[in-house]
Amino acid sequence: MEAVLEQVEQLPALLAVSRSALVRDWDALTLDRALEWGRYFQHLHDRFRTRPRLREALGRRLRRGQPSPLLGFPQLGRCPQLLGLALLENRALPPAACRRLIHSLLQPAGEEAGPEPCSLALLARRKAASRLLALPGGPPRAPEEMGPQPRTEAQLLLSRLREEVREAEPAGEAAGRLRWLSGVLEELPQPRAFEVVAAALLLLLLRPGSDAEQAGDGGRDGKSLDGNQASETGDEGVAGLLLSWLLGNLERFSAFCLFLPGSLLASLAGHYSQFSRPYLDLLTGWGSHLLYDPLQGRWVKSCLDKAELSWEELRERFTCLCQGSALLKGQTQAALKLLKARDGDFTVCGLSVWTDLLMEVEEYLRKEAKRQ
């Protein structure tokens, strides 16, 4: 067993090498060996995935060999693809080895060229499918729904986070995990990262483990045992991690709330109490920066700083919040009433932004109720 553990510890190094310029010196034989290692690791994964103690042991050993938790036990299962594709993209790989690589990718050793299609052919096919299915002309997407790309990225992110929360040593690791999550999300441009995090938080609200089940280990047919073990507490941990990232930095949080549509944010606020409070505070802050312009007869931003909401946008946000759950609606209206009272409890327009907001929001809700 110790021998196996030692081998597993080498995987991160192997991957790192296959992405580096060190492959310059590889020949066809070396490549074959590397791919064989990949298959061996996959074999280990298949054997041990139903044995929790051994899984843990292997997972722990894997992490020991890495500065940041890049790979966990489930990654062992997709080793051949990880290695193969990394090597394919590595331009330093010399021609002879590369030819051997392409050959092995198309005709994996040890598999009969039988009914099971070469998984890479399937990948190419799916990639083409994603281009074909992206045909324009569909119905406009509701703002709370995520596009397929952010949704996919969110599913994978969730799957990974669930592993982290479950497999990594829980004690004292929270800060490290947060740092890791930050680093990962920095790989995306900020607007995209926001979409992905929002999508992930929304996906967690569906039946736990449903979507991410398919993003579990062994990307072969999407079935996994990991998904079945996605527990309530595990998901809470994941949500907690995502929210910590979101709320940890005020600038980031404001950017998040500026970028995403009101209905989506209202959805998040309705389900995550850690979110609704700071969100309301943020809106309050923005609202209090608005000034009344008597000449134009409306509320305007005090400085034309783009990083704040305009009156119309603010109103829209509050309206969305009031269209959420009864609890959220109650909270929002109570907050607005409190702010109005603190501001002087005016009933006339133009004196307090909160009076006006409350009035317009309630007006809108009345009209909506009448329509239905």
């Binding site: 590369c98 051997r100 096919r125 499918a129 994978l156 990974r160």
Partner: protein, 558 residues
């Protein structure tokens, strides 16, 4: 050195021109054109690969200087890449062109270009900017493009399914209506992806989609391709989707029926169970619960019968089909049409009598029932109102498809001590429906003679071949073919069901098959009898055993 290349140069130019014309398939015409040519293109690529794999990469470029252009362009056409196995073949071709020991800058460049193409196909490529964003993210998470695209496709199929299904429940809600051109476009874009398992929910939704327009809005390329894939068992669809396909696209239904016939006629079957299995798998009997489908399949079968001059194989297929159709109809618990709706132009009492399955009656009542059928039929046929040949054929076809009863008639003649006339007439009609020149009457007379002869031998416990030889000669001598069939039928039944006949059955049947050309017919009859005995609850172990032995020996010879 001119090896005979299997890829004529002419074809190459043709496909290169096509590839240039299609570009990345962004216009409707190019998309339709690609879809039409996908199967041939795949075949062509396969041929190229077969040629390339024996060549060195340098020789390959010399032989096909433009191959780089062709493959490069095709790699950018998502219709081509998405189709069946084209992507695999393309990648193999690229692999063949990759040089493991590049000697000069040109080869190095070619290698680099092939590398880029493969990356474009399999992971992220520098040519597609929107991928760059997510690819580092995905790999930092520890996943690959394989995982990403697996989920992405599912996430794209799902909203399309919702969009199309939404329309069903909206009813008259115009707001939610999907435009016909949109549905048409979706169906066209699915054509290359039909055999991709992720798409099955979308295929199903499309097939079941009814927009309320009177014209078909699904593209015909789509319908044909789905039918093709279903017939070749490359995809599996729920029954309702298949029925919908056939109801809305007549050519697909016709193709399915002809495909079934072809399958059955070209395969050697050892038992009727196998035939029944194949027919059931085709879903046609179940689909025939829709009267429109039944009518069309009926016509196709009739034509097949006429074209093959009424060969017993085709007749048997029709008979089994009819039985399975009746079974499926019985099991159908949604709204059912009465059986009479499927046979609208026929004499109702006769139809009702024929529709009774033998196992619904006790065996002792079979003779009466057959007598009744025979009487009705005789009255119908000998009525001078039957003017045309076509009408006569219709009546004959109706009776013939319920062949079970005919077989039972022959069996009853030789098993039970019954009055033969009605049953003999029935069989005579089956084998010789026309009577302008008194053919049927003549057949009847000869059949009676043979029958009497056989009845005399019936009680003999020991028989020799010679005793029956007289009967054999009458098979060979008689010119009228219909008599030959009838007499073979009677003889075979005699051998199966009389105690004396049992003993010499094997010898005699081999004799028949060697000296006459009746072997296929006899085989067919034996198979039908075996099936009938097993499924009608007749107690006849001895006969069954004999049948099995005979069939085993016969089918290994034939």
């Amino acid at each position: 050195m001119a090896q005979g290349t299997t890829v004529p140069k002419l074809n190459f130019e043709y496909w290169l021109d096509k590839a240039i014309e299609w570009g990345q398939a962004t216009t409707l015409e190019s998309q339709k054109d690609v879809c039409l040519h996908l199967p041939q293109l795949q075949e062509f690529l396969h041929q190229i690969y077969e040629t390339l794999k024996h060549m060195d990469s340098i020789v390959a470029i010399q032989q096909f200087p433009l191959i780089g252009q062709l493959l490069g362009r095709l790699c950018w056409n998502p219709f081509v890449i998405g189709y069946d196995e084209s992507q695999k073949t393309l990648m193999w071709c690229l692999c063949c062109l990759y040089s493991s020991e590049p000697q000069n800058p040109v080869e190095l460049k070619a290698n680099s270009w092939i590398r880029s193409l493969l990356c474009h196909l399999l992971s992220s490529s520098k040519w597609e900017s929107n991928e760059a964003e997510s690819s580092t993210f995905i790999s930092t998470l520890g996943y690959t493009s394989a995982d990403y695209y697996c989920h992405l496709v599912k996430n794209m199929v799902f909203p399309l399914v919702t969009e199309l299904r939404g329309n069903q429940f909206n009813g008259l809600n115009i707001q939610g209506r999907v435009s016909a051109s949109r549905v048409n476009a979706v169906s066209l874009f699915c054509v290359p992806l039909i055999t991709l398992p992720d798409l099955t929910p979308l295929l199903e939704t499309l097939l079941l989609y009814h927009g309320g327009a009177s014209k078909e809005i699904l593209s015909s390329e789509f319908l044909e391709a789905v039918n093709e894939a279903f017939l070749k068992k490359k995809i599996s669809l729920p029954e309702s989707a298949v029925f919908s396909l056939w109801l809305r696209h007549l050519p697909s239904l016709e193709k399915a029926a002809l495909y079934l016939l072809d399958q059955l006629v070209t395969t050697q079957f050892n038992s009727l169970e196998e035939v029944a299995c194949v027919i059931k798998d085709s879903l046609l009997p179940q689909a025939a619960s829709h009267p429109a489908i039944f009518r069309i399949v009926n016509e196709i079968f009739k034509n097949a019968l006429l074209e093959t001059d009424g060969t017993p194989e085709v007749m048997t297929i029709i008979q089994v089909f009819t039985q399975l159709f009746l079974q499926a109809h019985q099991n159908e618990n949604k709204r059912k049409f009465p059986l009479k709706a499927y046979f609208p132009y026929h004499h109702q009492p006769l139809l009702t009598a024929l529709l009774r399955r033998p196992f619904e009656l006790p065996t002792t009542h079979w003779f009466q029932h057959l007598k009744h059928i025979s009487a009705m039929l005789k009255a119908l046929v000998e009525d001078t109102n039957i003017s045309s040949l076509a009408d006569l054929f219709e009546i004959w076809f109706l009776v013939a498809r319920f062949g079970e009863w005919l077989d039972i008639a022959a069996e009853q003649l030789l098993k039970a001590a019954v009055e033969p006339d009605a049953l003999l007439w029935l069989l005579a009609f089956y084998y010789c429906p026309q009577n302008e020149n008194q053919q049927r009457t003549q057949t009847m007379v000869e059949a009676q003679a043979v029958y009497n002869h056989l009845m005399m031998l019936f009680s003999c416990t020991v028989l020799s071949v010679k005793d029956l030889e007289a009967a054999v000669h009458s098979i060979m001598d008689i010119e009228q073919r219909c008599n030959q069939h009838l007499i073979t039928h009677l003889l075979t039944n005699f051998l199966l069901f009389s105690s004396g006949g049992h003993m010499i059955a094997q010898k005699f049947i081999y004799h028949i098959t060697r000296t006459t050309d009746r072997s296929k017919e006899v085989c067919s009859l034996l198979i039908r009898t075996a099936y009938r005995i097993k499924h009608n609850g007749e107690e006849n172990q001895r006969t069954l055993k004999l049948l099995n032995e005979l069939l085993q020996k016969l089918t290994s010879k034939v």
